[in-house]
């Protein structure tokens, strides 16, 4: 690989690492209280000095709150919701998928049918319905997004399990009388990890996007939680006079999702090579 290409390949890692750092360290360095407004300093363009004597590097929103701080806190929200949703989906999907693939027969037939039926539901609509019915909270958002997000995991895990089940070491374990649970855990599950991890990164990007969508619609997280979707929604009435409110978190979101996509591509390629 030549040098520019190598730099290009490293880009997603750099961006993702940056987001991770911001999500973890940002809140320590920058204080932000979503309830505290400063109406005198509202709609200040990037780089202005606020009434409190600080510099709003990325401007302020319609209530005088610092956009940079909101993006930083929003990054944490997005990463947390994304990780929690992907974890929950992966655990559910992996369990059901591996069971389907390992058991085969009618168990597999029933479960696979269920996956197919659920896959036919438009995920984001289902999430909107669920998030809309219950009171706004992070748990509801994770649940609403996980409801359909686990299905790809289940399908990938099932495929992997189906292939792994035929491998020699599984037969060997059977002959030795190793139990189902131990066989699944020791001899099947580790071999689904590669494709599942690649899928998890891809899903992470989608989940972050979906969460922003829910928050944009005002049905995701409670208003006291800072999230990119809410910032973007709050700024859309000001696109003409204060473009920075919606645009900057929008760029942050786009950059994250694209980087995750590239990262996922690289992972997929690598797992394919190793097989």
């Amino acid at each position: 690989m030549n040098r520019p290409r190598r730099i290009l390949a490293a880009l997603p890692y750099l961006v993702l690492g940056g987001y991770g750092l911001v999500a973890v360290l940002g809140p320590v360095l920058i204080g932000y209280n979503p309830r505290a407004t400063d109406v005198v300093s509202r709609l200040l363009p990037p780089g202005s000095a606020t009434g409190a004597g600080e510099v709003a590097w990325l401007g302020t929103d319609a209530l005088g709150r610092d956009v940079l701080a909101q993006i930083v806190y929003g990054a944490r929200t997005s990463v947390l919701i994304g990780v929690a949703t992907v974890l929950a989906s992966a655990v559910i999907g992996l369990t059901l998928g591996v069971i389907a693939g390992y058991a085969g027969g009618w168990v597999d037939a029933v479960l696979t049918r269920c996956f197919d039926v659920l896959l036919a539901f438009p995920g984001i609509l289902l999430a909107i319905v669920i998030a809309g019915v219950f009171e706004r909270s992070p748990v509801v958002v994770v649940a609403a997004l996980s409801v359909t997000a686990w299905i790809p995991f289940a399908r990938v895990a099932r495929g992997s399990a189906l292939a792994t089940r035929e491998r020699g070491w599984v037969d060997a374990a059977r002959v030795m009388g190793v139990g189902h649970v131990a066989t699944l855990r020791r001899h099947i599950l580790p071999f689904t990890a590669g494709p599942v991890v690649a899928l998890a990164t891809l899903e992470f990007g989608l989940v972050v996007l979906a969460e922003a969508g829910l928050s944009f619609l005002g049905i995701g997280l409670p208003p006291s939680t800072v999230s990119w979707g809410q910032i973007i929604a709050g700024g859309k009435d000001y696109l003409q006079i204060a473009w920075w409110i919606s645009t900057l978190p929008g760029i942050a979101l786009t950059l994250l999702v694209i980087s995750v996509g590239l990262f996922s591509d690289q992972l997929t390629r690598r797992t394919k090579q190793s097989h």
Binding site: N33, T37, A62, D237, Y238, I241
Partner: protein
């Protein structure tokens, strides 16, 4: 071959362009080729949830706007703020303002051709009282009778001096109105209903049988475009021609658009933030007053509403009969914190602060921020209009934000209707206030009434039944070519005399 093909392409293009032109003309309201009168599409601040002016949504701005187009009233507010006749041509009071006799206009019919008689008035009034909606609160202990087809008499045990103003919210519907009537109602107002989708759009056509002549508009559509940016875009593109209730932030760019006229008129509305006096934490007037002091309304108003807001000095707007100025409540967060601590206020328990309408979100959040600054937690809840209304009546809130208008321009409407113990609308109950409000109702001497209302307002203000931070101007914006729009201080513009020039 190629020539023919080119011809075919050209024809297709022409049809396409014609199609576009048609669609554009239809939505923009320009006169169509047939020479039919132009239509108008308006998008206000409120959604029309129901067409029933007697029901639970009867006092909401959306329903009032629809009702004044579809139905008639005995009397209506005139351009100068006084009361003029609508269905009634004249009225007299007697027995110390306990009986009011109205003579109905001759020859008024509903849009289906059936005559409007005194029986319809009586039946409508009975319906108002039966449904116990917000309008019914205006008429406690009032009976109505029809001595003849063209005469109705309102009788109450106690004097009812403000009845004229209150009757501007009482709409007459046919006596036979039953279940399902308000899906496609028949009225005697300037317009008739073509189609209605609650919360979305109301399509009206001129009522050819209106006693004062049919409106010149070929069609009037009242659309709900809840998204502000979408609403203003619709105005710029000409999808709608009239918009009102525009936030301050959007006025400067709108003003710079040469095809749009912007004008703000002093309104009757007051930003009203009731405290629920039934909430144990808010029972004490000292607590309510301290919370009021905690908020720097002056700063919030000058920042958020530089064009349409003025700090309020009373419970009702200066455009309303009964307005009496009160001493301002100074911003004093330290004093507020101390007063709350002294009153044993529970800082740990958040106050449920409800409101409806995205345009109020920033104001409410700024208030919540100031409360937060002295350690008072709030649980801000933005609700759908229907849910908001239901919770409002059920007192499922601790602080309620409302932009409370007085379409009757008489303090009786909001003070007399909302503040007596019996109304139970904000959990506040004070016998002295009840007595003053009753006395104000009991006389038809305007000076007397103003004196009683001044007393009532002083109690309400000093006991901080709510916070009354701001008087509201109503900004209207319309596109070139729209004439004859009657701007209304309550945000209920009258479209019956509007004409639209092709632009």
């Amino acid at each position: 071959m190629t020539a023919r093909r080119r011809l075919a392409t050209l024809t297709a293009l022409a049809v396409l362009v014609a199609g576009c032109g048609w669609g554009g003309g239809g939505t923009a309201g320009a006169p169509s080729a047939g020479g039919k009168p132009a239509g108008l599409t308006a998008a206000g601040t409120y959604s029309v949830e129901s067409l029933d002016p007697h029901g639970p949504a009867g006092a909401s701005a959306g329903t009032q706007l629809a009702a004044q187009a579809i139905f008639s009233r005995l009397v209506r507010p005139g351009a100068d703020g006084s009361v003029t006749g609508d269905l009634a041509t004249r009225w007299t009071s007697g027995d110390g303002a306990t009986t009011w006799t109205f003579t109905l206009r001759e020859g008024v019919t509903f849009s289906d051709g059936s005559p409007l008689t005194a029986q319809d008035v009586v039946a409508s009034f009975d319906r108002v009282r039966e449904l116990k909606g917000p309008v019914a609160g205006n008429f406690p202990d009032t009976e109505v009778s029809a001595p003849s087809d063209r005469e109705v008499v309102f009788t109450s045990r106690t004097p009812n001096a403000a009845i004229l103003g209150k009757l501007t919210q009482f709409y007459v519907v046919p006596a036979k109105a039953g279940d399902g009537f308000f899906g496609a109602p028949v009225g005697s107002g300037p317009f008739t209903v073509t189609s209605f989708t609650p919360g979305e759009s109301l399509e009206l056509a001129p009522n050819r049988r209106h006693w004062n002549g049919a409106p010149t508009l070929g069609r009037l559509t009242v659309k709900n475009i809840p998204e502000l940016s979408a609403r203003l875009t619709a105005l710029r593109t000409g999808e709608v021609q009239v918009v009102w209730g525009i936030p301050d932030d959007q006025l400067p760019p709108l003003k710079s658009d040469p095809s749009v006229t912007v004008q703000a008129v002093p309104g009757t509305a007051v930003f009203t933030m009731w405290f629920n006096s039934r909430t144990p934490a808010l029972k004490d007037a000292a607590v309510r007053r301290a919370l009021w002091q905690a908020v720097d309304f002056k700063k919030i108003i000058s920042s958020l509403y530089p064009e349409t807001g003025t700090p309020a000095d009373s419970v009702v707007a200066p455009t309303v009969l009964g307005h009496a100025p009160q001493p301002p409540v100074p911003h004093d967060p330290d004093g507020a914190r101390a007063a709350l601590a002294a009153a044993g206020f529970d800082f740990a328990k958040p106050l449920r602060l409800q409101f409806s309408g995205a345009e109020f979100r920033q104001f409410v959040q700024a208030v919540a921020s100031d409360l937060d600054a002295i350690g008072v937690k709030t649980d801000v809840r933005e609700k759908e209009p229907a849910v908001f209304l239901e919770d409002l009546l059920a007192l499922k809130w601790d602080v309620n934000f409302q932009q409370l208008a007085t379409p009757t321009r008489d303090a009786a409407t909001n003070l007399g209707r909302l503040y007596p113990c019996a109304a139970g609308r904000n959990g506040y109950c004070n016998e002295d206030l009840d007595a003053l409000l009753a006395k104000a109702e009991a006389t038809d001497d305007t000076a007397e009434r103003e004196r009683f209302y001044a007393g009532a307002i002083a109690i309400t203000w000093n006991d901080a039944v709510g916070m009354y931070p701001m008087f509201v101007k109503v900004p209207y914006a319309w596109r070139q070519g729209v004439n004859g729009l009657v701007l209304d201080p309550s945000g209920l513009p009258d479209f019956s005399k509007v004409t639209v020039n092709p632009s």
